[in-house]
């Protein structure tokens, strides 16, 4: 059990601004749950719980990428709230992970709103481009980043600091079967992340590698997945060299016409 103080709330605000802008830019990846939850743990004075919560949330969000066209639940809010709920209520991080989900969905909608409404700024940028106004360009790009950063900061402050008491009451009032159910859910959720990755990566000819990875880890369990990554690298290199040789033996078409580029390649 732990109370979030105002100072901790402000520190979370600052962290969320920085990590939020990083997420917006996909810059250094300090916005991933494993980093955000660790920082949250550090701020709230329980680093260990923060790290455990971060590892758990990271896996559940591993496959939830923005690549598939849909904007996934927000990983900054998932990281902050999983760690904050686990620390403030003293419950298992698995339970906290499921409880953090509504918050990360809420932030997802805020970001979607920005994606749509920022189209408005494009008109201005077009005008600046016409006049070669580089200062105007800088202004707009920093304005959009500032809006996003503040939105993250406020959201995290409100969710982690202002809403902590009602949150604790809800968690305390939950019956055992519900708590247990959320913990079970926390254990299954990575499956969705992995299935999302499979959806994008899986091709029929890759099935053998998938089976190999699964069976390998089932029968040779190890503390981390480095051994299977090493084997995967071996397979990848094998295929790479095989195909590379095949390409080299073929005559390479040497097209240098400019027209070919304008066809869209």
């Amino acid at each position: 059990m732990h109370e979030v103080t105002l100072i901790q709330g402000i520190l979370l605000f600052i962290m969320a601004v920085i990590c939020g802008i990083d997420m917006w830019l996909e810059g250094t990846y300090i916005f991933r749950p494993i980093i955000v939850a660790t920082l949250t743990g550090l701020i709230l004075g329980d680093l260990k719980t923060g790290i455990i919560a971060g590892g758990l949330a990271e896996l559940a969000f591993a496959g939830l990428t923005s690549v598939g066209g849909t904007q996934p639940p927000n990983s900054v809010l998932a990281g902050v709230m999983t760690a904050a709920i686990a620390i403030t209520t003293g419950k298992d991080p698995k339970i906290a992970l499921a409880l953090a989900l509504p918050f990360s969905l809420l932030m997802q909608y805020v970001i979607l709103f920005f994606y749509s409404s920022f189209s408005f700024f494009m008109r201005k940028l077009d005008k600046y481009a016409e006049n070669a106004d580089t200062k105007g360009f800088a202004r707009i790009n920093w304005t959009t980043m500032a809006i996003v950063g503040l939105a993250y900061g406020l959201m995290v402050f409100l969710c982690a600091y202002a809403a902590q008491t009602p949150m604790r009451h809800i968690v305390e009032a939950m019956p055992t079967w519900l708590i247990n159910g959320l913990s079970v859910a926390g254990g299954i959720l990575p499956a969705i992340g992995f299935a999302m990755l499979l959806r994008i990566m899986m091709k029929v000819e890759l099935i053998p590698y998938f089976i190999f990875g699964f069976v390998f880890v089932c029968f040779i369990p190890f503390g981390n997945i480095l051994p299977v990554a090493a084997l995967g690298t071996a397979f990848a290199l094998f295929e790479f060299f095989k195909q590379k040789n095949a390409v080299q033996t073929q005559p390479v078409a040497n097209v240098k016409d400019e027209e070919d580029y304008s066809d869209g390649i």
Binding site: I30, I34, L59, V67, F114, F194, M201, K203
Partner: protein, 266 residues
Amino acid sequence: MESKKTLTKKDINKLALRSVFLQSSFSYERMQAGGWTYAMLPALKKIHKNDKKALSESMQSNMEFINTNPWVSGFLMGLVVSLEENKEDRNLIKSLKAGLFGPIAGLGDAIFWFTVLPIVAGISASFAKSGSILGPLFFFICYSLVFASRFLWTNLGYKVGTNAIETLQKSSQLISKSAAILGVTVLGGLIPSYVNLNVVKTFTISAGQKFSIQHDFLDHIFPNILPLAYTLLIFYLLKKKKMNPVLLIFLTIVLAIVGSFFGILG
């Protein structure tokens, strides 16, 4: 062609650093166009110096729709900047950019989203499980290296020029495919490591004789068969039924709660 180099190595490294602005004014309308142009502004300004008309033309042309992978975007920026520097035909630059941002996005996504992220996340999470600081630290170090690779990509893009495009396209497919092999192997291994799905229901056959579905039945068929089956089920629902991932997350939570309520899952 005669090339009059106005950009120095320092300018290109600055461009690599500024490639982080790619998504700074992201919107659905033209995706990364605003940030893309903003990132290249200092380089463009230096190239076109006092020629305001040329700078404006270049800015307007760069404000066209673009959506590529942030980490390797520097490659395309380096390439475009080198073409601008050589005062290549505007249409050539435009069509090259339009034709390349897609393949580059595909390559970058295959390597960074679908190969590096699952592996790095999987390894970091295995350290983090016990609360070790190694987990987040390992993650941070790996992604600092990924960030540093921006300098590599940007310099590469600036150097290759147009003649290397063809080889690039050929090898990009090859690299994507190899990366997918690595990614899928690791994914297969991540499922038994991290998905926890156990049936706790037991039946009393006779006095003192209990039958556990998990230990006496499922584990005898194949270890981790439920996590695999559930992952594949979700994969099927996502791919074939086009179900919304967020809906599937909620259905999973409901399933877990209902299963726990009846004492089946635990």
